[in-house]
């Protein structure tokens, strides 16, 4: 490595350029700076270690740390620890979950709901993504996608509230049905699994749409044309070509939406009712009261995380084997 900045040749740089050059030139010939850089870049190995140290420290302490701490607390009998009290290792927090119906009912409800809502989101957004990727010119694709992005910049709470107004007893849907004389009395949509589903699908649709769109967009149109030339019907082309080749997008979209759906707290609180309590509300309950319930909350959160990761992992395995099965 040469220590000097190479002199600039050719036609004279304008003044602004020369100024910048002077700054960088001064910097790189400034002895303390050269010393530091020289030490830091003495070998590729040292250079790499310096580059890697901070990110490694960050992900270990900030990304992994909270999860590990949650896991540790879930095995203790008291947290936060009051002065003078000893903390013990225990499995009681986990036993508590399996021991009581009122805990595992919302747990299974959450997983079922998340699965059903994920499927609904997929069915709803696949045709939209298909239309955008296959039937719209490239210039309009971006505009039409952008149009769909706008509502998704609006926050979770505001969008949940919008659904409350839509589905309430005097909400737009009920008023419209009444006006059309289809009903006499409002249909109680709110505080049911239906209103919750509409809300959650509304919040997550984009996370499904984008992976589907990028998978469909990558798929060469010539495949379908070739199949059509060979006499395959539209349905066969979809089933044998489009669907198998977009399984990857389906798989990542579903994983994302499933994980997000299990984590909603405010939306079920606002849109759901007593019969639709989800596990997020159960977990949150342990953090609203005195501190000694924290370990149970941590254990429950751990159970849910493990279950969600396990299910999405199994799902991805399944999709992978489907993909391989189809290409063979």
């Amino acid at each position: 490595m040469s220590d000097d900045v190479a002199p600039r040749t050719g036609r004279g740089p304008d003044t602004a350029d020369r100024k910048r050059l002077t700054f960088w030139g001064t910097l790189s010939s400034w002895t303390p700076y050269r010393l530091v850089v020289g030490l830091a870049t003495a070998s590729p190995r040292r250079q790499f270690l310096i580059l890697a140290a901070f990110p490694l420290l960050w992900v270990l302490t900030q990304h992994l740390g909270p999860m590990l701490q949650m896991l540790r607390v879930s095995f203790t009998d008291a947290y936060p620890v009051a002065p003078g009290v000893e903390q013990h290792f225990t499995l009681d927090n986990y036993a508590r979950f399996f021991g009581d119906y009122i805990f595992w009912q919302p747990f299974f409800r959450t997983l079922t709901f998340a699965g059903v809502f994920t499927f609904c989101t997929l069915i709803l957004t696949y045709p939209v993504a298909y239309f955008l990727a296959r039937h719209v010119s490239r210039k309009n694709q971006m505009l039409m996608l952008l149009l769909l992005l706008i509502p998704f910049w609006v926050g979770e709470i505001v969008r949940t509230y919008a659904i409350m107004i839509l589905l309430g007893n005097t909400g737009a849907v009920n008023q419209l049905l009444k006006w059309l004389s289809l009903i006499d009395r409002p249909i109680p949509f709110m505080y049911t699994s239906f209103s919750m589903g509409v809300g959650i699908v509304y919040l997550t649709a984009l996370y499904m749409l984008l992976p589907l769109y990028s998978a469909l967009e990558k798929l060469p149109r010539s495949y379908n044309e070739a199949a059509a030339d060979l006499g395959a019907s539209a349905w066969t082309r979809f089933r044998r070509i489009t669907l198998p080749l977009t399984l990857e997008g389906i798989s990542s979209g579903c994983t994302l939406v499933f994980l997000i759906s299990t984590g909603f707290y405010a939306t079920p609180v606002l849109l759901g009712g007593p019969s639709t309590t989800v596990f997020a509300e159960t977990i949150a309950g342990f953090f609203h009261v005195a501190g000694d319930e924290w370990p149970t909350g941590a254990a429950f959160a751990t159970i849910m995380f493990v279950a969600a990761i396990f299910l999405t992992g199994a799902f991805q395995k399944l999709m992978n084997s489907l993909r391989k099965g189809d290409t063979n």
Binding site: V59, P66, V128, H135, V154, I165, A301
Partner: protein
């Protein structure tokens, strides 16, 4: 392709557009209703709910609080996320896959679990619930998004430019500051706006890590729990217009920038 199919699919698309827009438009309309009662039909209109928003000091202060949190959290996320991206992109080393997995972890943990884990960890670190805790949680949560966006941009940087700079005598740091960083600016700006919006809109982490002062989404949530009122529509509409406007502007801006460079 089949014409009938195409028309059917375009109907599906426009129906979907209606589905994502109509609830928000109805919510905006309701903010102009001259009655305390939420519901249709709207018979008379008023702007009183909007003027009322500024009488209640809680709303502007929650708004400012949310913006300050979003800006601070974004600054941290952008710094850390860019650094991680530079480490991960185009480099092969032992444990790279593990490092990548750990990087995206906060984005994959479901909201409530992430909030609980941050709450416990903040307690363990001795961070009191409040602004510091929220900023920290938002920053950690947003790092993966920055890292992914910056990595995508970095992968398109022509290696020859760095080599040319090095041949002309630039040390790695100067080559990074003068070649790589300017090239990354569109990605960094795009990621910043995305983080600002994520942080500004975040509810679950702000709710579990907040002290007595609410952020805007937490305030709206608290008001909603005590009953619906057109006042909430006015607040939500202001938040909506701002976030949507920033989003659209950023989308156009970053698109133009990445085209130029």
């Amino acid at each position: 392709m089949n014409r009938g199919n195409r028309i059917l699919l375009s109907c599906v698309y426009w129906a979907f557009v209606l589905y994502v827009f109509v609830p928000l438009l109805l919510m905006i309309l309701m903010g102009f209703k001259d009655s305390k009662f939420i519901g249709f039909p709207i018979r008379s209109w008023t702007l009183d709910w909007y003027t009322g928003v500024f009488d209640d000091a809680a709303v502007p202060s929650a708004f400012v609080y949310s913006v300050v949190i979003a800006v601070l959290a974004t600054m941290i996320s952008v710094f850390v996320g860019t650094w991680i991206a530079v480490l991960l992109e185009g480099r092969k080393f032992l444990g790279r896959t593990a490092m990548f997995g750990l990087t995206v972890l906060p984005a994959l943990v479901p909201g409530i679990i992430s909030a609980i884990a941050f709450r416990i960890y903040a307690r363990w670190l001795g961070i009191e619930p409040g602004m510091g805790a929220i900023v920290w949680a938002h920053a950690v949560h947003n790092v993966p998004f920055v890292a992914l966006v910056v990595m995508a941009r970095l992968s398109t940087l022509p290696k020859s430019q760095i080599e040319a700079a090095r041949d002309l005598g630039a040390d790695p740091i100067i080559a990074f500051l003068r070649i790589t960083l300017p090239y990354l600016v569109p990605a960094i700006l795009g990621a910043s706006i995305f983080c600002l919006l994520l942080s500004f809109d975040d509810f679950v982490r702000s709710f579990f890590l907040g002290g007595y002062e609410p952020t805007l989404p937490v305030l709206i949530f608290a008001k909603l729990r005590s009953g619906m009122s057109p006042e909430i529509n006015a607040i939500a509409t202001i938040a909506l217009v701002l976030t949507a406007a920033i989003g659209i502007w950023a989308e156009r801006f970053t698109r133009r920038m990445s085209k130029d460079t």
